[in-house]
């Protein structure tokens, strides 16, 4: 027996290691009712421990390399950026001031919108709390489109939190370690998110294909889907809030597996291949920073002063109204009120005949001198009336009564 193991020890060691790994795999993968193998979204404790160890060993040098690269690239770009930096700084400070005012107004609008939606009973998620993180590593293969960020459980991250950039959605947090987290990108083949086409309002499931392209799968063929249409998150997956940009329709191809269905290939809104900084949505509940709260209070104060000014104006109008003759006289019966008086308040009729009529007198018989009418083509100089803008206009002589009742 001893000679057998000595003679075949290479094969024995190989088989032992293979069997151990197969047994380990069997503990991680379970069969579905459809007979397919599937992996639990949460790793068993022992597997999680291995991932933790691997992350603890690989992450520090990986961060070092990434930090060095950022330092070199950043140093060079900083040197270039120093040109005109003072002017840019001044411009940016002005912009920040303006944006803060706009932000205060927008926050106020958002709060108002929320109140209204609460009244209407909508279950709407809002992004109010995000955490910026630096992406520094990957899963190492296109078979696993994951990447690592430098924020973990110590920063309040939890599994299934959405990860976005300013351009669009990126992925979701999968594994959370102490100081880092693994993010599953939306273009991984095992990823999934509920999306909706902006114009046609067609819903579908977003996933990635082997080449890392985004596609919305299992959509019933529809002639209205055209390239260029925006695709947004639908909000039904309880991970991504509704309305976040996902991408733009690039083309529509038939589903290779199912007749009558199409796959919509998307151009992602976020640059999934070149991610440096991302935002993790840590909370969708309304939560304002002290600065934002201060801006809101300032906005409320401004709003209060505006309303008091409006009240003052209304009070002044009421006082003026008391001094002016009204259309309702409390001392008269209702049928004799001035409001119901249909008689002409200015019974001018025809103007009285002048005692000494001249050319300016309103008379049908008085001929108009030739060459004084408008558009008669006369080149004769006309006297120009110079009336200063602040001068009150002269009272016109009533020629004929214009008010007919």
């Amino acid at each position: 027996m001893e000679s057998f193991f000595t003679r075949y020890r290479n094969l024995v060691v190989l088989l032992a290691i293979l069997v151990m790994q197969i047994a380990g795999l069997a503990m991680q993968v379970r069969r579905t009712s459809a007979g397919r193998g599937t992996l639990d979204s949460e790793d068993p404790g022992s597997v999680r421990l291995i991932r933790l160890w691997a992350n603890a060993i690989i992450s520090p040098p990986e961060r070092l390399i990434h930090g060095t690269k950022l330092g070199v690239v950043g140093g060079w770009s900083d040197y270039i950026d120093l040109i005109h930096v003072r002017q840019q700084n001044q411009d940016l400070e002005k912009t920040i001031g303006r944006l803060r005012m706009e932000q205060a107004a927008l926050l106020e609008d958002a709060r108002q919108g929320q109140r209204l939606q609460a009244l209407l009973g909508f279950q709407q998620n809002y992004i109010y709390s995000t955490l910026a993180a630096q992406a520094y590593g990957s899963g190492g293969s296109d078979r696993s489109r994951v990447f690592y960020i430098d924020k973990g459980s110590h920063d309040g991250l939890k599994p299934d939190m959405a990860v976005i950039t300013g351009d669009g959605i990126v992925g979701k947090v999968r594994d959370v370690f102490g100081r880092s987290s693994q993010v599953l990108a939306v273009n991984d083949t095992t990823s999934g998110a509920g999306v909706i086409l902006e114009t046609t309002r067609i819903r579908g499931i977003l996933k990635g294909d082997l080449s890392g392209q985004l596609e919305v799968v299992g959509i019933v063929s529809d002639q209205r889907i055209h390239p260029g249409e925006n695709v947004l998150t639908a909000g039904g997956d309880l991970i991504f809030p509704r309305g976040l940009p996902v991408g733009v329709v690039e083309k529509v191809v038939p589903d290779p597996d199912r007749d009558g269905l199409v796959d919509v290939i998307l151009k992602p809104a976020a640059h999934l291949d070149r991610l440096d900084e991302v935002l993790v949505i840590t909370s969708t509940q309304p939560r304002f920073s002290p600065q934002e709260q201060q801006d809101i209070n300032a906005s409320e104060t401004m709003k209060g002063s505006e309303s008091s000014a409006v009240n003052d104006q209304m009070k002044a109008s009421a006082i003026m109204a008391e001094k002016l003759p009204g259309l309702i006289d409390p001392n008269l019966p209702s049928d004799q009120q001035p409001l119901h008086d249909n008689s002409n308040p200015n019974p001018a009729g025809r103007p009285p005949q002048p005692l000494h009529p001249d050319e300016f007198s309103p008379s049908d018989a008085t001929p108009i001198p030739a060459g004084t009418g408008p558009g008669d083509g006369s080149d004769a100089p006309k006297p120009k009336a110079k009336i200063p803008a602040t001068q009150p206009a002269a009272k016109p002589t009533p020629l004929t009564p214009q008010r007919d009742q």
């Binding site: 590593g137 990957s138 190492g140």
Partner: protein, 173 residues
Amino acid sequence: MALLGAEFRRDFEIRRYPVIVYALIPLISLVLQAWLPRVTGPYDWFDLPLVVTVYFALGRRSPIQGTVMGAAMGLFEDALSHRPIGINGIAKTVVGFLAASAGIRLEVDNQAIRLLLNFVLSLLSSAVYLFVTRFLLGMSLEWSWITELLRALGNSAIAVVLFPLLDRLQVKD
């Protein structure tokens, strides 16, 4: 390609390296494998841990060491991904064992043999990965043999450049 008889096998030199090399080179390959795809984007047609596994297995000519090293590298790769831990482990275990077994019989200083071995073992690793995922575990896996072919070519090219550099690290008697 020279297949040699048993009496000549013992004449082959077993390469030895400082202990730090055994620790650092695999670690660097794992770190670079995790970091470089962020630089290369979709063109990540390489598998540095596999190349390093093949190199040490060929040089050490010990199937057990090749097996253990392949298993360790593969398990690390799996642990960094979101897939079950063990798929890459099995693939690279087989590769390490076969590379060491080939190292016993072949003159591995020849660049053409190194290139060919890396190409074949890369494809074998992909095939084992596919077999374990689809048939052993019954999991769905999108697959493109063209990508695997490009990866095998990339590994071969890297091996041609990397192996002579690593040769300089060995301890001379």
